[in-house]
């Protein structure tokens, strides 16, 4: 606010000075024309000079900080979506395994681990409950073929 006041006062002062000078000298004389020209330049200088102090780097830094803030908020949203997505994959995979086990006449509980990649996929599973050797083999086949979980990543409790 103070800078603006100074700026406006500067313009007013320059305008007053120019006004006084033009009144003192005959405007139609050669000196008058020269004084009018100088007065015009003085006024122009008062209007333009504060703008010349603005550094482009400051403006760019400011724009950069806004972009950085935006990137931070976007990453927060992505993280939240990833968490929810991971939870959704885990839930759906566990439900799928329990359904497949039911179809093989066994009651199992499944605890699925999801990979930490950008594209999360079921990585390993811990199965708890009773199952016949046949059902176990059939279920392992389903898990490896349908879900892509390695045989060594299927753990029985």
């Amino acid at each position: 606010m103070d800078e603006l006041r100074e700026y406006l006062l500067g313009i007013v002062a320059a305008a007053v000075l120019c006004g006084i000078l033009s009144r003192l000298i005959n405007p139609k004389s050669t000196v008058g024309i020269a004084v009018k020209l100088i007065a015009g330049f003085l006024l122009l200088l008062a209007v333009v000079s504060p703008w010349a102090d603005i550094r482009l780097e400051n403006v760019l830094d400011w724009a950069d900080s806004i972009t950085a803030d935006g990137a931070y908020y976007v990453s927060q949203g992505e993280m939240m979506a990833e968490e929810k997505y991971r939870a959704g994959i885990k839930e759906r995979t566990e439900a799928y395994i329990v359904d497949e086990a039911k179809a093989l006449q066994c009651s199992l509980q499944a605890e699925v681990s999801v990979s930490a990649d950008a594209m999360p996929v079921p990585e390993s599973v811990i199965l708890t409950g009773d199952a016949s050797p046949y059902a176990r083999q059939a279920l392992i086949a389903v898990l490896t073929q349908s879900l892509g979980i390695g045989r060594e990543d299927i753990i029985w409790n």
Partner: protein, 346 residues
Amino acid sequence: MRKLILFVILSLCLTVPVSAAEFTAPPAPEEVEDLISADTESFGEGLWKIVKEALEKSAPDLTAAAGGCLSLLAVVILASLLNGMPGNSKRVVHLVSTLALSAILLGQANTMVNLCADTVRQTSEYGQMLLPVMTSALAAQGGTTGATALYAGTALFDTLLSTLIAKLLVPMVYIFLALSVAQSATGEELLKKMRDFVKWLLTWCLKVILYVFTGYLSITGVIAGTADAAAVKATKLTISGVVPVVGGILSDASEAVILGAGVMKSAVGVYGLLVILAILISPFLYIGAQYLLLKLTAALCGVFGVKPASDLVEDFAGAMGLLLGMTGVVSLLMLISTVCFMKGMG
């Protein structure tokens, strides 16, 4: 030291605006809390409640504004009568009436300018809290490019406009009013030109910022929206391909996340829109009514044959128009931006 610790704690609170589990809209400022309906699911109902309550609240202010205009008319009628009396100096009557009118008008204008500055500050502050939530919600929905571009554009233009209004345009309104009073008192042509220039500059600043902002949103909206929609589709296709048989079922999980984020984003957006409108409506009605009343008063002053007085009142009506423009542009900027966030990837 205590201040430093407090500052660090407050800064940390500000840097984590998004809750880890849900996206929640920032609470409405205390002044407009009672205008916002508890059930914000319906935008129409919420808007109706805001309009109704704002009209009820503004009634006493509008009566006071009408009273001020009647005082102006009384001064003008008195000046007209004094002008008609033989032996009175028209020049003295003109100067005295201008001073009397200016005293009444400047008092009213000062209230309006402060109201406008407060509204702009409140809208901008609320926008700065709402923007991060909308950005994160849009990013969670898959619109990462769009969210970054929208945030950057809105934050930049909002900061630019609110700073410009607070530090340059509001003081310029005072300069405009001072020039109008001085021109009316002296009848100087140069003052008239300077007054018109100030008005033109104010209008031009607001227009240009709004045009550039809407242009930016239109371009980034189309480009980012298409890129984000393609990225989401590609992700779904990749999941279907990575997991052998049940990939389709798993890709539905991403659909569920997108839908969930979309629902939350809509709820936050609707609430945000209502809060911005609630902040805007009372000052807008008040300044708008003042603008119309001054226009009417200026027309009535003309009927009494006191043209300089009519011109002065007209100038003050013009200043009210400028204040309406400033308040409206800041709110419009936030409203457009929020709607763009809500629209997201289209």
